[in-house]
């Protein structure tokens, strides 16, 4: 057969889109678990925070670590947005065709995709703001600092929107990713798809519930702490000191 | 005036047409295919069951070869077939199927080891040999001694057609879709192309070609209920008939398939019975063994259809608002088998009947299915009377089916005839004989004649409604020219059809006056053509006072070899006649390899021709002598009826089989 020189860029872009999406989605799951530790008490959340600042490894906290991680996520976020943008309607005509198609076709998975475009587009802005703030204010994470930001610094409206966008986009994205690459296909792809879809809904509901409870907890603390906004949290028992 | 010149014009884009087109293209001739629909939508796709070829790979096919396939085919034809043509066919069928395998048809394969199968309502274990593993397998079909019908699950025709169409694309065969040939250009006994109408915009185009091939399939839609696609209206045969020069053969030989669903007439494949399905009556009683103790449900199609009709007439049919029917029971095969090998049947049952064939019985009755008759040709596929006109596949009366076709021999014929006729056409085009000498004036005359006909249909006032005429024709054919026929009904049919034909000259296209895409106009001119064809069928049936194969006369139940071992030849030499001209072509017994005998169904009602006994004596003596001398089967065959020289050189080689010629 003849020698063929192929252009591997489209494959790379496709791979980057899926891989970055997967990393971001898994990161968001982990992130949600971390921030939701506030539901277990301020102490727990505080310990988790300083854990990520390297406290348990180095003996003191380095918020720079968080800055670096946030920066890395921001980079992946931008990469994902850049490659995923190729898929969006690129002019009004295309948008209109798509809109009509969705309206007349009434097809679940196509509609889901529309939600993904919508939430993805929203996150260009919402996600960027959040990531930038965390990157530049990485020291201001903690039971009080975070709550203050949410309430006293008026971040709660953004977080509500961001939470909705992230959870919808992420779970739809993971579902689509599994189908796109044929993961968990088993012997009957049609049956596995039904299972995957059910799982997707379960995951969305779970994370949205967890997310809103968490946000409520921070808001509650934020309101209670409004008078002392800016003050940092300290453990009530100082066991931490003893750990090297 | 739009004229397109090419070497070979092929009318019809089904299996036969496409195979001819790729064949001549490979030989270096230009070719244009005209097709009513995208070729992949042709009716060939609907052949679910399979293609007969004596590969002898599977256990139940062991010992099969050309000789067995030949004798099955001749018996099936009730000795109406041309035996030389049948020989050419059985010799080339293995080649055709292997060629298709190379071109990509995913034939179902033999799997080594044991598998269970249902034979005569019993579960049987069959053990396939190691050495056959991975070769093309076969299933059982009616009227065959061996399991010889090769298949791809239940989409054989579909897979074959797709492979063939893809091959044509690879060869860059030019295909003009949605073009309908409406008349043949001819002069002095020489056909030089066709006038075609573009169904998308109404444009008339003249195609001028050295050779014109009609491969438009059958004419089942003359009947109100048919398994055929709705485009199988016999327009190819009709335009040949309208030349007044070309002849049609055995038009009355119409096959009824035993198992089409009620009421819509969609086919459930013979594979249902081949794989072990049973026919049951209103009491759930399996009646076929009473009539045909040996072959039971797997008797030849014409026989099963008649037995079913007889049984219904005895009052054993299941009553329904669409008339009486019987049951086809495939539940015995099990869900797994049905979902894998008979999936198309399952889909049809679900979509059109709302039943599950793994649990429910399927309502069936015999329904018009196949046209053995068609454009009468020589073994080369060329019309006997109109030079430069060729035909093959169901459209032709090449005559390998005689008065009844075996299941699985039709798709097989399309590709075998296609590959042979392509060679003969290419030879013709290579020779000086094929030189055309036609002036544009002649072309213009033919073009204008068609244009005038269209205008007349569109501008006529107070004329006839084509739909009314056509529906009447369909029911006459159904009621009076059906499975069982008799003189009285046939005479009435001919009379009324003649009347309808006269009225059809006065058809008016109501309201829909577009010169472009216009379904009403299409229906109008097709109805005129179909009525002519219907007359050839009914009139041929009326005149044939015997019963042979699918032509069954209640008033003449004998197969009369003394008077009727001949082909009906129909023509329409004068534009103004209202009934076709009929003549007969003898089928010479003294040349037969396999002289007429008893088919083995029911009572032997043959009126024996004295020639038969004589010929049988000659055949027996010669065979015995050669066997004594140690001759092999090829030498014996060649001594009885030489045919191999008639084949194109490239197809003369002997076929390999496991344990033979390998």
């Amino acid at each position: 057969m003849r020698e063929v020189k192929i252009d591997t860029t489209p494959a790379r872009l496709d791979f980057i889109q899926s891989a970055s999406g997967l990393i971001l989605a898994l990161f968001m799951w982990a992130h949600m678990f971390f921030v939701s530790t506030i539901l277990l008490g301020k102490d727990v959340m505080y310990k988790v925070t300083i854990f990520f600042e390297g406290h348990y490894f180095f003996g003191e906290s380095y918020p720079l670590i968080v800055t670096i991680v946030a920066g890395a996520i921001f980079a992946i976020f931008i990469a994902h947005a850049a490659v995923a943008m190729r898929k969006l309607p690129s002019n009004y005509k295309q948008y209109k065709i798509l809109k009509n198609h969705i309206q007349s076709f009434k097809h679940g998975d196509t509609r889901l995709w529309f939600w993904q475009i919508f939430t993805g587009f929203a996150m260009f802005f919402l996600g960027s703001v959040h990531l930038y703030i965390i990157m530049t204010n990485s020291a201001d994470i903690g039971p009080y600092a975070s709550s203050d930001r949410i309430v006293s610094e008026w971040m709660w409206p953004l977080y509500i929107l961001l939470l909705l966008a992230v959870e919808l986009h992420g779970s739809i994205g993971l579902y689509r990713l599994a189908l796109k690459w044929g993961w968990f296909e088993g012997t009957d792809a049609k049956k596995s798809r039904i299972k995957l879809r059910r799982m997707k809904y379960a995951i969305t509901i779970f994370f949205l519930t967890l997310g809103f409870l968490t946000l409520a907890a921070y808001i509650k603390i934020g309101i209670e702490h409004k008078a002392n906004a800016g003050e940092r949290y300290h453990l009530e028992t100082s066991v931490v000191e003893g750990v090297k | 005036m739009k004229i397109i010149y090419t070497d070979v014009l092929v009318i019809g884009g089904g299996l036969a047409g496409l195979r001819v087109a790729t064949g001549v293209k490979e030989r270096g001739h230009d070719v244009v295919v005209l097709s009513l629909v995208p070729p992949k939508r042709s009716h060939s796709a609907a052949a679910q069951g399979g293609m007969q070829a004596s590969l002898a790979n599977c256990k139940m096919g062991e010992g099969d070869n050309e000789d067995v396939h030949f004798s099955d085919t001749i018996k099936g034809s009730d000795w109406g077939a041309d035996q030389e043509v049948a020989r050419m066919f059985v010799h080339c069928a293995p080649k055709a199927i292997r060629e298709l395998a190379i071109w990509g048809v995913p034939w179902s394969r033999v799997h080594r080891g044991e598998h269970t199968s249902v034979i005569n309502a019993q579960k049987v274990t069959i053990s396939e040999s190691e050495e056959a593993h991975g070769l093309i397998t076969a299933r059982d079909f009616g009227g065959t001694k061996k399991w010889r019908t090769c298949y791809t699950s239940d989409g054989t025709g579909h897979s074959m057609l797709y492979a063939m169409d893809n091959k044509a694309k690879e060869e860059k065969v030019e295909i003009h879709e949605r073009l309908e040939a409406i008349s043949l250009i001819h002069e002095n006994g020489r056909c030089s192309g066709a006038i075609a109408r573009n169904l998308m915009n109404g444009e008339l185009v003249a195609y001028v070609a050295k050779a014109t091939t009609i491969a438009t399939g059958g004419y089942g839609r003359l009947y109100s209920v048919s398994t055929n696609a709705i485009i199988c209206q016999g327009i190819g045969q009709a335009i040949a008939l309208e030349t007044g020069v070309a002849t049609l053969g055995n038009m009355e030989a119409i096959q009824f398939h035993p198992t089409a669903i009620v009421p819509v007439g969609i086919l459930t494949t013979e594979g249902c019975r081949g794989d072990g399905g049973l026919l049951l009556d209103k009491d759930g009683y399996r009646f076929m063994p009473d009539y045909e103790p040996e072959k039971k449900e797997l008797a030849s199609r014409d026989v099963v259809s008649r037995r079913m009709t007889e049984h219904i007439r005895k009052g054993k049919g299941v009553k329904s608002r669409y008339g009486d029917h019987l049951w086809l029971d495939i539940t015995i095969l099990g869900r797994e088998h049905i979902e894998k090998n008979l999936r198309e049947v399952k889909e049809i049952c679900e979509s059109f009947l709302g039943i599950d064939p793994a649990v429910d019985w399927i309502p069936v009755r015999p329904t018009q299915h196949y046209s053995m008759g068609g454009i009468r040709t020589k073994y080369t596929g060329e019309s006997q009377t109109l030079k430069g006109l060729y035909s093959c596949g169901e459209a032709a009366c090449w005559d390998m089916h005689g008065f009844n076709r075996l299941g699985g021999n039709s798709v097989s014929e399309t590709v075998v005839a296609g590959m042979l006729v392509a060679e003969y056409i290419a030879d013709f085009c290579d020779s000086d004989e094929s030189a055309l000498n036609i002036d544009t004036h002649t072309i213009a005359t033919f073009l204008k004649a068609e244009k005038d006909k269209m205008e007349a249909l569109l501008t006529k006032e107070n004329g006839e409604d084509a739909y009314v005429l056509r529906r009447r024709m369909e029911s006459i054919m159904m009621e009076k020219v059906g499975i069982f026929r008799n003189g009285e009904d046939l005479q009435a049919a001919v009379d009324e059809l003649e009347e309808l034909y006269k009225r059809s000259k006065n058809i008016e296209v109501f309201r829909s006056k577009s010169r472009g895409a216009n379904p009403a106009l299409v229906n109008a001119y097709r109805t005129q053509k179909m009525l002519k064809l219907a007359l050839t069928v009914a009139y041929g049936a009326l005149l044939r006072t015997e019963s042979r194969g699918a032509h069954s006369r209640e008033d003449f139940p004998e197969r009369d070899d003394k008077n009727w071992l001949k082909r009906t030849i129909t023509s329409w030499p004068d534009e103004n006649q209202t009934i076709p001209t009929v003549s007969y072509e003898e089928i010479p017994i003294e040349k037969m390899e396999f002289p007429p005998g008893f088919r083995g169904y029911g009572k032997d009602l043959t009126v024996v021709n004295p020639e038969t006994t004589k010929r049988q004596g000659v055949v027996d003596a010669l065979t015995e002598k050669l066997v004594r001398e140690g001759a092999n089967r090829f030498e014996i065959q060649n001594a009885l009826m030489p045919y191999i020289d008639k084949l194109p050189k490239k197809y003369q080689g002997t076929n390999e089989r496991l344990g033979e010629n390998v």
């Binding site: 494959a11 076709f105 690459w181 | 394969r109």
Partner: protein, 247 residues
């Protein structure tokens, strides 16, 4: 059985247009048809043409769900009309031609031209340069399971439903669509086709090919033949990524 069932009156609204008529424009015409037992859209449409309006154009060939000619939008859903029982629909039925394909007239569309282009683009035939037509010899062997698997993908009838159900191709008409990707997967699977992975990559390794698919799965859900489109497109995507990684 004595009670007379009152049949429904179906109101069938059809999007009609004759592009060859300069005076015509797309408009909806509603026809009333009395429903009958076991009525399909094939029967209903023929009744309209025979008794109400003989100029109505639509395509049926096999009328048995085998040939793929009669695909149209039935209440917005791409379907083979011959297989749609009216009893499963509401009395108000809307019919429209499939989008994207060239319109011939009314419900009749020119899928043939589109599918031909597609076949030529992906070269949907066996590529084997050394192939000699050894038709006298025993055929090449093939594993029975593999033959079945190829047939499974070979079952496509090119009806165009998957194209009409694909959001991607609506926006980006150069996209191959499920019908094209399925063909490539079919030949990729077939050992008789000797094309290398790189040659396949040339055909589908870009955003008009497999990387353009956004996995909306309209194709999978409307395919009248239940082809495993999602699974095969995923397979093709994995193959093409592997091929790119090798290079």
């Amino acid at each position: 059985m004595s009670e007379v069932k009152k049949e429904r009156i179906l109101k069938i609204s059809i999007l009609r247009f004759d592009p060859t008529d300069p005076k015509d424009f797309p408009h909806i015409v509603t026809y009333e048809v009395e429903e009958a037992d076991g009525m399909t859209l094939f029967i209903a449409l023929n009744e309209i043409r025979e008794h109400h309006d003989n100029s109505l154009m639509f395509d049926f060939v096999c009328r048995a769900g085998i040939c793929g000619s009669c695909s149209m939008l039935v209440n917005g859903q791409p379907k083979l009309a011959c297989r749609v029982l009216t009893s499963k629909l509401d009395a108000n039925i809307s019919l429209a031609p499939l989008p994207l394909f060239k319109l011939i007239r009314d419900l009749s569309i020119y899928t043939g031209e589109w599918m031909r282009g597609l076949s030529e683009r992906v070269e949907s035939w066996i590529h084997d340069k050394e192939e000699e037509l050894a038709f006298d010899k025993l055929e090449q062997r093939m594993e029975p399971a593999l033959a079945d698997e190829i047939y499974e993908l070979d079952r496509c009838v090119e009806c165009g439903c998957c194209v009409a159900g694909c959001g991607t191709i609506q926006m980006k008409p150069n996209f191959l669509g499920a019908v094209g990707l399925n063909k490539v997967a079919r030949y990729h699977l077939d050992p008789r086709d000797k094309r290398s992975d790189e040659e396949y990559y040339e055909i589908v390794g870009d955003e008009d090919g497999v990387f353009g698919c956004m996995t909306l799965l309209g194709c999978e859900d409307v395919c009248p033949k239940d082809l495993p489109l999602q699974s095969k497109i995923a397979y093709l995507r994995r193959m093409m990524i592997q091929t790119a990684a090798k290079n």
